[in-house]
Amino acid sequence: MALKLHGLALSTCTARVATAIYEKEQQFELVPVNLTAGEHKQPGFLAKNPFGQIPALEDGDLTLFESRAIATYVAEKYKDSGSDLIRHQNLKEAALVKVWSEVESQTFHPVISAIVYQFLIAPLYGQQPDQAVIDANLEKLKKILDVYESRLKSSKYLAGDFFSLADLNHFPYLFYFMRSPWTSMVNERPHVKAWWENISSRPSFKKVAEGMTLGQK
């Protein structure tokens, strides 16, 4: 029975899960959720995610939500196929993957998602981007990317010299950010730039990127 991913191809969090599934060389059925019609707040979807957010994953009789939890489940279930996302055979490496996954989750995500929301999503709802919010978060992003620049001088990927879930979890929001007017944040930091170019050229990322149509010119 196939994995069923309830969400939308252009959604960042759906894309995070899709990328993880492709990295593990697995397939899934994308079941679209009609956000415009408010489907995500209807009982049928709330039964899958009581917080009413996409994506949700069905694997047989197991239903999960929260994209990072789903990605971790996929990485563990299919640990013997595709790329090693969680370093399950080496506890130290696994711990470092967790550290940099938490950095993405706690430090990077709030800042990058605020910027992407303002310039890409707010206009879809007829709202003017709030430049003050963008500016404040760009300042924070600079400091965060300075730490990444320093980290990536001594290690090819965030958790070590191996690609992992910690890098993957950055993909969707960074992808949309690179359609913004502020790409110099990445491009002016040579190690961050090289890391981004490296991970975004992975076949799984390229496949998922095809559906990420927001902000295309």
């Binding site: 009581p50 917080f51 197991l62 999960l64 939500f65 929260e66 990072r68 939890a69 789903i70 971790t72 489940y73 563990e76 279930k77 506890l91 130290k92 696994a94 711990a95 470092l96 967790k98 550290v99 996954s101 938490e102 950095v103 989750s105 706690q106 430090t107 709030p110 965060i144 730490v147 320093s150 980290r151």
Partner: protein
Amino acid sequence: MAGIKLHGNALSTAASRVLPALYEKEVEFELVPIDMIAGEHKKESFLALNPFGQVPAFEDGDLQLFESRAITQYIAREYASKGTPLIFPDSKTMAILSVWAEVEAHTFDPPASKLKDELAMKPFLGLATDFAVVEEFEAKLGKILDVYETRLGQSKYLGGDCFSLADLHHLPIIHYLMGTQAKKLFECRPNVSAWVADITARPAWKKVVAMRAY
């Protein structure tokens, strides 16, 4: 063996997320205080442990970690055979545990931390609480706790029938909020209230609370 060192203070929210995990697993550790008022967490020696300059940082022999929720997961795995099980061998159980740990991190923590800042930290620092913000965030947290109320009617703990990291990660912020007017949000929901009473009564958490008393 160099042993476990936790760099931080019992009064730090994030360090207080790691402390109960260490006590639950019954492992020996040394708490290395960080003088945040003196800015020690922004100095080179601490930045070498956490380049983001935030407490806590953690050492176990030559392994150095930061981010409280990564540290607790490492402790739960490395010391799986000691103390309380905080992770479980069944992959479905772990997946559901992981879902609710993400809920704590992304859904519960932001509004709950905002309330902690307004109702607990500001008075402590002699600053004025913004009650308009309090009202807004109590409403948000209330809606989230409605989902928790339903969830905790289906299972004793958030991740399932056993206490796990998904519950433990909530302890520091819940501890703060139960000392403020926001406690009503937890007390008026019977399943949530019972869960709060249960997890805060655990001996490991009581040890952390005792460390914070001054």
